[in-house]
Structure formats: C-alpha cells, structure tokens
C-alpha cells in the first residue's frame, strides 16, 4: 500500500518521498513512540522492567553469579554487542556448576514477546502457561526488559493485587 502511495505522491509533483518498508508493525515492535488507542492501553513494553541482569557470551560465570546475588532476578540475559537476546542463564544453572563462560552456561533461544502485546493478553497467557516472568524483545530481537506477572496483575487487576499476596 505505501509504495503505491509514495509513487502517487511523486506523480503529483512531490520530489522527496520515501517509503518506510517495515511500517507500523515494525515501529511498534521496536517499542518506539506511538499515538492512538493502543498507546492508551497498558502494554508489556511499558511495563517491562529494564533493570535486569545482562551479560555477554564471553563473560566468566563467576562474575555473573556475583552480580545476580546483588540483584532481584533469578536469571541473567545473554546479549550480543547489538543488544540482541541470545540466551538466558538461571542462578540455579550457575550454582549447578555450568560454565565457565556465559556461552557455556546459557539456555539458548528463550521465548520472547513483543512490546505491543497488551498487559491483559499477556497476563492471560502467563496464567495459561504458568509463567511468572517473560523477556520482551523488539521485532529484531533486542532486549527491552522483563515483564513480571505480578506487575501485570497490578496493572490489569489492581483490586486483586492487594487481596492476593501469593500471586506472582
């Protein structure tokens, strides 16, 4: 559709016309600013926690375990130089002696979710699959953050949050 629009505008005399190949789906998938109804809805991109532990393939596992010990999450995300998510290392993996580098210890290819998934849909999915956390990535694989079921309950069902201390 947009290539035809670009050609039409050129035919009408506009001389500097470009066509964005990825379109709105690519833009939303990269967690870039949008407007409209979707922008007013709680999405997991907005709710994802950015303060997750990350490392690179060549990092020694000792340092990772030390950092995870100081931080709140049970997993470390392995990224490349571009911020693309390659794998996940659980604290239990490190305690079990996996290593010596992140590349040796990681579990490759974790399931990921796009930032434009609504909090409501994601909460239903997490309940269905008994997930408590899930990584959020852009459409080209870059880590946005970690969405927690507890945070989604707070966003979608605030009345439940106070009355359900075991929910996570």
């Amino acid at each position: 559709m947009s290539p035809r629009a670009a050609w039409l505008l050129e035919a009408l005399g506009f001389t500097d016309v470009s066509h964005y190949l990825g379109g709105i789906s690519d833009w939303i998938g990269a967690a870039l600013p949008i407007e409209g109804l979707l922008a007013e809805e709680a999405t997991i991109g907005a709710r994802a926690r950015r303060d997750v532990t990350t490392c690179q393939l060549g990092d020694p596992v000792e340092g990772i375990l030390e950092r995870m010990g100081r931080e709140a999450y049970a997993a470390c995300f392995v990224l490349n130089d571009e911020g693309v998510l390659l794998g996940r290392i659980y604290r239990s993996d490190l305690r079990a002696g996996r290593g010596p580098r992140a590349a040796d210890a990681m579990r490759p290819g974790p399931s990921t979710y796009r930032p434009d998934v609504t909090a409501r849909d994601m909460l239903a999915r997490m309940r269905e699959h008994n997930l408590h956390t899930a990584p959020v990535t852009t459409s080209d694989g870059r880590l946005v953050g970690l969405v927690r079921r507890r945070d989604l309950v707070r966003a979608v069902e605030p009345e439940r949050e106070g009355s359900s201390p075991k929910a996570s």
Partner: protein, 68 residues
Amino acid sequence: MPKTIGREDVRRLAAAGAQIVDVLPPEEYAHAHIAGAMSLPLKELTPELARARLDPNRPIVVYCYDPT
C-alpha cells in the same frame, strides 16, 4: 523514484522535520500510528488533498502496516 527506507532513517528524518504520513484506513490510524504522523488514507489520496495537506518543500515518509 521513491526511496525505500528503514526504521532508523524514519527516526532521523522525523527528527529533521519530515512529514510522516500514515496511508492506512482511518480506523487503523486511530488504533495506532507513529507519534506525530498524519493520516492520509491511500483510498482518499486525491491530488487536491495531497496538495492541501503536504508541504512540497519538506521530505515525506509514507508507511502502512508492514512490507506485505
């Protein structure tokens, strides 16, 4: 010939003052559009409307849903 560009080019052009144009139907635009984009649905894109809404002296970036 119109240029085909990627996301980073769109961000750069938008920051430089380009006109970002959503050519999807109005209901799609209402659902979600690039922040700051204007709606000019392809099916309504007459010469009169284009000339009334667009500045010929500034770059224009058009987009729809995805590459398909």
